[in-house]
Structure formats: structure tokens, C-alpha cells
């Protein structure tokens, strides 16, 4: 530990839409840095000792639930696994994720967006015989490599960083976005999902789908899980272009 702990300066966006007369503003808080401090730890300290009204979302604080994405010094990332030590000048500016409905302060309604996305792409295995399976019997075999490939695409935690980093989404409010494409790529790869390419085309074969993507690839740059967005978007686009 260094001799003297730093004092971090947090500039945080504050606005509670449910409070009459409240106006959006930036508020500065000072926090004494502790070893291994993350933005999650610092925000909790601010809430517990300085301002109990501060709103932000966390569940797992281990980078797996996807609740805590926010804009940290201009870049979307998961707050729970961002160490304050990464910021050399000790100044950290926090804004809510754009592209989502604001709940208050740093809290946004990613849940509503993701639920609508799931319904739109029907993010489940489509197999009309799925419910007739006899679960007493040996399961359907799957190549171990295929299982691993599906898992690689299923690592998405729906944090919304890709949506907030997407310029196309800014221009097209109904743009499906990388999170939707990643799920579609996952189901298209899965031999258990019996949907045909034509059926997938109905979901994403337009400008609000995979053809609308301007390939600026903010999704690829800011995905906290390092998912292969670029490759999968290119793959889906080619697959869809071959249909008609």
C-alpha cells in the first residue's frame, strides 16, 4: 500500500424523474481509495455514508449478472469489475447507460429492453416435439465441440453495453442491436433449434435487423465479455443475404 491513500473524485449524474421538480445535474463526491476498490465498492460507500438516495443497480458484483453497466469516463463498462486504481488522475465520471429508459441516477431499465428483445427474436429452442421428449431416456447426443461453441455465444449477460455503444441504434430506435444478433447466432448454431434460415430471415432480414448495421462495431469494442460480435454479425448477414 502506498503511504497515503488517494482521495477519488466522483462526478455522478443525478436525476430522479419521479421526484417533482428534480433536474438532471452532475454532483461531485469524494471517496478515500482503498486497495482493490471497485466502482461498485465506491458507489456503495457513497450511498451508505454520503447520500442514501443514490440509485444504481447491482446484483452479483462479480461480472455475471449484467446489472451494473454504466458509462465510466465516457466508455460503457461493468462498474463492479472496474478498479478505481485504473484511473491515474483519480477522477471518475459516471453516467447512466444511454439507449435505455432511465429509472433514476445511474439506474436504467435494461430489463424491459431485454425482455422485448427476447420476445422479438423468440429466444428459446423451437422444436415442436420438445415437450414430448421422454426424460427417462438417454439424452440426445451432441458433439462436445458444438456444445462448447454454443456456450461461447451464450456467455452474453445482457448488460446493454453493446446497445449503448451502437451508433445505428441511435439512428434507428427499433434496431435489434448486437445483443439480439448474438442470441440469434447462438440459436442458429444450435442443432436443437429447428428454425430454418427463412424463419430467421423473418426476424432479422431488414434494416432494423442485421442489414441495418453500419459496422462501426462499438459492440465489439465495448463488450465486457469479449464476445465475437464482429464475426457473428458478418456470419448472420451472409447467411441472410443468401436467402432471397
Amino acid at each position: 500500500m502506498s503511504d497515503q491513500a488517494r482521495v477519488l473524485k466522483f462526478q455522478i449524474f443525478r436525476y430522479n424523474p419521479l421526484k417533482k421538480g428534480d433536474k438532471p445535474r452532475m454532483v461531485t463526491y469524494e471517496v478515500t481509495e482503498a486497495p482493490g476498490m471497485t466502482i461498485f465498492i465506491a458507489l456503495n460507500e457513497i450511498r451508505e455514508t454520503q447520500d442514501p438516495s443514490l440509485q444504481f443497480d447491482f446484483v452479483c458484483r462479480a461480472g455475471i449478472c449484467g446489472s451494473c453497466a454504466m458509462v465510466i469516463n465516457g466508455q460503457p463498462d461493468l462498474a463492479c469489475r472496474t478498479l478505481t486504481a485504473n484511473f491515474k488522475d483519480g477522477e471518475i465520471k459516471l453516467l447512466p447507460l444511454p439507449g435505455f429508459e432511465l429509472i433514476g441516477d445511474l439506474s436504467v431499465n435494461t430489463g424491459k429492453f431485454m425482455r422485448a428483445m427476447s420476445e422479438r427474436i423468440e429466444s428459446w429452442i423451437h422444436d415442436q416435439h420438445a415437450d414430448d421428449v421422454n426424460y427417462d431416456k438417454l439424452e440426445e447426443r451432441m458433439d462436445p465441440d458444438v456444445a462448447e461453441e454454443i456456450y461461447e455465444l451464450e456467455r452474453c449477460v445482457e448488460c446493454g453495453a453493446c446497445v449503448s455503444a451502437c451508433a445505428t441504434k441511435r439512428m434507428r430506435p427499433d434496431f435489434l442491436s448486437a445483443v439480439g444478433f448474438m442470441h440469434l447466432a447462438r440459436f442458429a448454431l444450435d442443432p436443437r433449434d429447428k428454425r430454418t434460415d427463412e424463419e430467421f430471415y423473418e426476424i432479422m432480414g431488414n434494416d432494423d435487423g442485421v442489414f441495418g448495421c453500419m459496422t462501426l462495431l462499438g459492440c465489439e469494442d465495448y463488450c465486457p465479455k469479449d464476445l465475437p460480435h464482429q464475426t457473428q454479425i458478418a456470419y448472420l448477414r451472409r447467411k441472410m443475404a443468401l436467402i432471397k
Binding site: 500500500m1 442514501p52 449484467g66 478498479l83 427476447s118 427417462d136 447426443r141 462436445p144
Partner: protein
Amino acid sequence: MKVIYTDSLVIGGGLAGLRVAIAAMQRGYDTIVLSLIPAKRSHSAAAQGGMQASLGACVKGEGDDEDVHFGDTVKGSDWGCDQDVARMFVNTAPKAIRQLAAWGVPWSRVRGGDREVIINGEKVTITENHEAHGLITARDFGGTKKWRTCFTSDGTGHTMLYAMDNKAIELGTEHMRKGKGVPSPYGDHLWLDITLLGRKHIEKNLREVKEICEYFLGIDPVKEYIPVRPTQHYSMGGVRTNATGESPTLKGLFSAGEAACWDMHGFNRLGGNSVAETVVAGMLVGEFVADYCAANPLKVSTATIAHFLKKEENKITDLLVRDFGENPFELKAQMQKIMMDKVGIFRNGPDLEQAVEELTVLNQRARNIALRNRISSSNPELVEAIRVPKMIKLAQCVAYGALLRTESRGAHAREDYPERNDRDWLRRTLTTWKDDGSDLPDISYEDLDVMKMEMPPGSRGYGVDNIILHPDSEKRMAEIEEIKKTNSAADRLELQQLLNPTPIPEKFKGKNERIGRGYK
């Protein structure tokens, strides 16, 4: 007052809650899932280890079946589990895994041929059968005779939760001691060495662990030791239910998963059995919930609803108008410190007594919480003010129960009572609160009946045996031997039925098939 009607209301959108909801929906009942967060953000996602089920497809799982899983579960629980429940559970777990496979979980699969693994700190080569190639594989998770923990690379809970929530969406609802520690600013820690596993294994199967090390600690676990600390990780107890998941004291209230004391874990839960419980309990209890819906028309007085609504409204109003009082964040921090220091892994009378006293004081103080931010919506301090008094009461249940239990069993290790005392303590601790204003919970006990056990208390086969025997243990053991002798022609499944005829729902009664063994 606006009343929302539904056939079944599920509180909590983790794996257990979602699975119950799916069962009720599949039987045609209106279901609402109430969750504080979007279901896919539930903490089930963080369960990385895996789910136990005796599929026996991988070579280290050969010879596994429901009986071996049952034995491991009962021993793990230190004979504290409900053996009817453990039986229902082990018989249904293979079906649960296979159902989840059909719903989209990309379970890791057997790869025929040689592979290198680490067993007891040594590198060995094992050869998987080619006949099993492509079936669901399993790994070791400690405390089991066979490798039985099914997994998806490093993200089991995540993939299970996503498949489960997607299925629910498809069905169209879901609304939403103090030892040799190394000092650090967050408390003493130990070093965990996983470098022996090698880069390939760590990067693939322990990637989430690796990410945590890199992002949170700035270390590379392939090369460096990981600092670790013990922490409260799982609650073996919960809302007491009978084997169908229903509360014995409140009709129509069911509980499943970590929230419940269904009681398949007893005094210590096996790794991989917690995630398995969520899904398997969800399946079984879900059927009983649907049965309940079928048998009981909704009949509720609006006056009762109004009474409880008013009561809760008053509590919130009191919090919002009080000028001076306690800070809920401070109360919580004090409660956490008491539990960590005095009700931890190794326990003793004097520490527990102090903990109970100090927690009682916190409970009293928690009746006088005041807010600094006095608004009624989107207010994290108000949320804390509502929750912390309940957390303190739960901490009191744990600490007081631990103080009174003068033995060591499972995860309850008393330095002053190191022996497992079956004679006096083969019983469950039940805690109840008479009313909101009580200082301490009432404690009562529920005896476990050795004479009904399929597997009477014995040695766990690991750790130190230090047991005061129950007088019925030998009697029951002899009785079982007698049953076995008189039914020498019975196969293991028939024998099991004789020893412990457990009521499993018709849907899940079938025998489970295994590779190389069929339905035997």
C-alpha cells in the same frame, strides 16, 4: 384498492421460482413471477460449479446411480436431511438435467478418448468411453463417490437460468478462526493455488474465476496464488416445508430452492446439490403447486387484503415521518460484523452468547430507523430500512439456534462441543417470531425418526468421526438387514421402495436410463 388475481404467485425469479412457474403454467394456471430484478439477473446465474445428477456417462461416473447419489447427500447432510425428500430429489435429478438439455442448456459433453485431468493434486490420464461420446459429462465437486456434477464450461448457472427464463417467456408470463490467515485490509485471508491446473484448463473451465482474478485483483491465476477468504455462501435452512414443498403452518404457501427448508441438505449441503435442488424442487414442488391450484378455488376476503395492505403502508409511513433514529446501513454493517466474528466457521459458547445479546440490541434499535431521504419511491434507503430489520431477525435465528445446539454437525462446528451427538441432537431447529415486537425468536425442535430412515446415521467417511450414537441406529440397521434378507430376490429399485416408499409425482416416477446399463 386494486386487487390483482392470479392462480399462482411466485415470489423470486431465480431457477427455483422460474421452474415452479413453468410447472404451473404448463398445467394451465395463471402465474405471476414477482422479482426485484429482471429474472435473468437473478443470483442463480452466479452458480458456476454445476448440478449433480447421476447420469453416469463419464468414465469417473461409471457405476453411479440414484442410490449412490442418495448416500452422498445423506452423509453430506450429516444425517440431518429429510430422507424422503433426498430420495425424491436423487430420482428426479437425471430427468431435470435432460429436460434442461432439451430446453437449450449446452451441457458439456463426453469426448471419447484420452484426456488429462488433475486428481488429488496430480496429473493423470483418463480414457473416456467412445460409446458415451456426446452424452452429458460430469466433473468432481468434492464429497461424492462418483464424478456427478454436470456443468457448462464455466457458466453453468448462467446457461441454466437463461434456458429457464427463455422457457418461461415462451410460456408467456413473468411480470415482472481464526486460523493461519494472512492479514489484509478486508480481513485475514488464505492463499489458493490453482496453478497446477494449467493455462488451458483455467482459461476454458475456470474462465469466470480467471476474469475475477484479473479484473478484481490484477493477478494471473495461471501463475500466481489467489487470496481467498471464507464468507457466508449458502443457507441450508429456510422456510420449513413438508415433502411436497408446502408449509405445515400456512396452507397454500409453498417454498422451493434456497429459500426452503424442504430439507435435502440437512446440516451441510454438497457442492452441486444446491443448483440441482433449485431445478428439481422446482419441478416437483411445481406439480404440487398445480395440484393445489386444482383442488382449491381462490377464496379471499378483500377485508383481509385491506388489513395487510394498511399494515404495510403504516410501516412505510412511520419510516417516512420519523425525524430522528437509527441509520439502516450502520445497523446492517454491525450485524455483518457480529456474524462474521462470532457466528463464523468455528463457534463457541461465549462468542455465540455475546452475538445473541448484541443482535438482540440491534433488533431493538432497528425498530427506530429514520431516513435521511424521505421519499416513498425509488429510494434505496427506504428499501434498506424495510429489509435490514428482517435480516437482523434472521441473523438472530441463526445465532440463537447455534448457541443452543451443543454439538458439532455438518457446517455447525462447536469448539466446545466437538462431537456429533445423535442421541440428543438428531433434530431440526425451528424458529418462529411470535410478533414484530419480540426480542428473540421462539425455538422448538423437530425430531428426525431414525426408524424410518433408509440410511440410519453412521460415519461420513471423511473428517474425524466423533459420534454419540442414537439408541435407534443399531435397531434400524438390523431391521434393514432383515428386510434385505427376506427380499433377497429384489433388485435395488424394489428394495429401495421397501425401505423408503417415497411419494414421487406420477410424471417423474420412471426409471432412469444410463449408458451401458439400461434402466437397471
